[in-house]
């Protein structure tokens, strides 16, 4: 089983780190993983995206033209990646700032209002983990336990007290994601 995912949004939204946590969680389950960032002169407020591939087999191309799942967190990303979801694939979008919602009927479209929820609950720093929770509800590519294990491995010890907040964010994301 191979899952090819693109995560795209504004720089500063935690797109790259969300991809990194997902890749690391795959590693915790002995899966093959590749994390390929668009590493142009990205900056806060600009666009950022990352391709994450989690697979049971060695990963071939780290660069793809179509995806099983696209997670889009702003309008430009939606416009760019909605057409690149494979038929029957999944599109997850955050409704915040989306003026023109997705229109495709041959894919599964999910909406997650993570930005609004994060602001409401004062959890803006773990916004990306709310989105990750939404993804894992739709596609349990890795278990929550593996994500927590990955966080313990990648976060410096002085930040380990933040792990429960991350877990809460993942579970919140699982609750609020809705199929359109």
């Amino acid at each position: 089983m191979t899952h090819e995912i693109i995560i795209s949004g504004f720089g500063g939204q935690g797109v790259l780190s969300m991809g990194k946590i997902l890749a690391y969680s795959g590693l915790m389950e002995d899966k093959e993983v590749t994390w390929m960032p668009a590493y142009g002169p990205e900056q806060r407020g600009g666009t950022a995206n990352v391709t994450v591939i989690v697979s049971d087999e060695p990963v071939s191309s780290p660069i793809l033209s179509s995806y099983d799942t696209a997670i889009v967190l702003n309008q430009p990303s939606l416009e760019k990646f909605e057409p690149k979801v494979k038929p029957g694939g999944t599109l997850i979008y955050d409704g915040y700032g989306i003026n023109v919602p997705p229109t495709r009927k041959d894919i599964h479209v999910y909406r997650i209002d993570a930005m609004d929820k994060a602001a409401e609950m004062n959890m803006i720093k773990v916004f990306n983990m709310i989105v990750l929770g939404g993804l894992l509800k739709v596609h349990p590519i890795v278990s929550i336990e593996s994500v927590l294990k990955a966080l313990r491995k990648t976060l410096p010890e002085r930040h380990h007290h933040l792990i429960p907040m991350n877990e809460e964010a993942i579970r919140l994301g699982m609750d609020i994601i809705r199929e359109q």
């Binding site: 990194k20 690391y24 390929m36 960032p37 590493y39 793809l64 033209s65």
Partner: protein, 360 residues
Amino acid sequence: MAEKEITLMKGNEAIAHAAIRCGCDGYFGYPITPQSEVLETLAAEKPWETTGMVVLQAESEVASINMVYGGAASGKRVMTSSSSPGISLMQEGISYMAGAELPALIVNVSRGGPGLGTIQPSQADYFQTVKGGGHGDYRLITLAPASVQEMADFVDLAFELAFRYRNPAMILSDGAIGQMMEKVVLPPFKPRRTEEEIAKECPWATTGRIGMRKPNIITSLELRSEEMEIINLRIQAKYREIEEKEVRFEEYMTDDAEYLIVAFGSAARIAKKVIAIAREQGMKVGLLRPITLWPFPTRRIAELGKKVKGILSLEINAGQMVEDIRLAVECKVPVQWYGRLGGIIPEPEEVVEQLKKMTL
């Protein structure tokens, strides 16, 4: 046996970790995207406190390569890394090292050119790397990693080859392999060689003259043409030996292949995806991935050329390696090129379309 250390890291980080672990004595470099993580990782790891490895940010690429020359002249395992424009600046030093027969490692995490170009991945430095780059009749032993694991593995291999043949070696990678993160098992720690070991293994090195031995002189200068020809002939004989013994490549699904893709580095990764899609559509395609770009797997490509109906050279450049493939098969089978330029990476589907045109 200790459990293998599996970790997730960028290709550039893997280069740095592998250098510390393979007993590298010194790294001299100057930052440039997309390879700055090499120097950053070394600075963060502080190997000078553990293995004693020197890490120095030089004032320029020209300074870096000449520091490498100096370190190599004393028999030390020394290296530098840069990206395309920086590697261009180093060409004089590289030619001097080839002329003085100095072993060293140069890593090029290449980006799109010409000129300052772009910071996105490119394989447009193939000609520069395997055909010279600097002046004079010389060659660089060139390894082309296609994964983060190979970024780690090829550091020690490059040093081994460089010292075996007293010749600079290059790892030719690109921004995609440098920036992407994958699983990697880092090599085990190997201690740096002691001064005594260096003196024994490198009797040519300027390690300090003991007793009455003849002074060792490291130079690429010889003004007497008769002598210079002898030196050149000796270097050429060494190159022929390398071509005989050190060719490395990977074959993938070539057994029943009617068409062959030849691709290296990140293009070879794309090629594997292309092959998966093409085979689903009934096209029997295989891959030959040169691991050493010089020496080039000429003989094997010639053999495969007799079995297939056509060869596609997939490169992230305007068609450079395609010339070596045509030479290898002596134009007895059609050889086409496909690639993208300026930092654009070809997507698997567009390569499949190209293959379809070939197979019609």
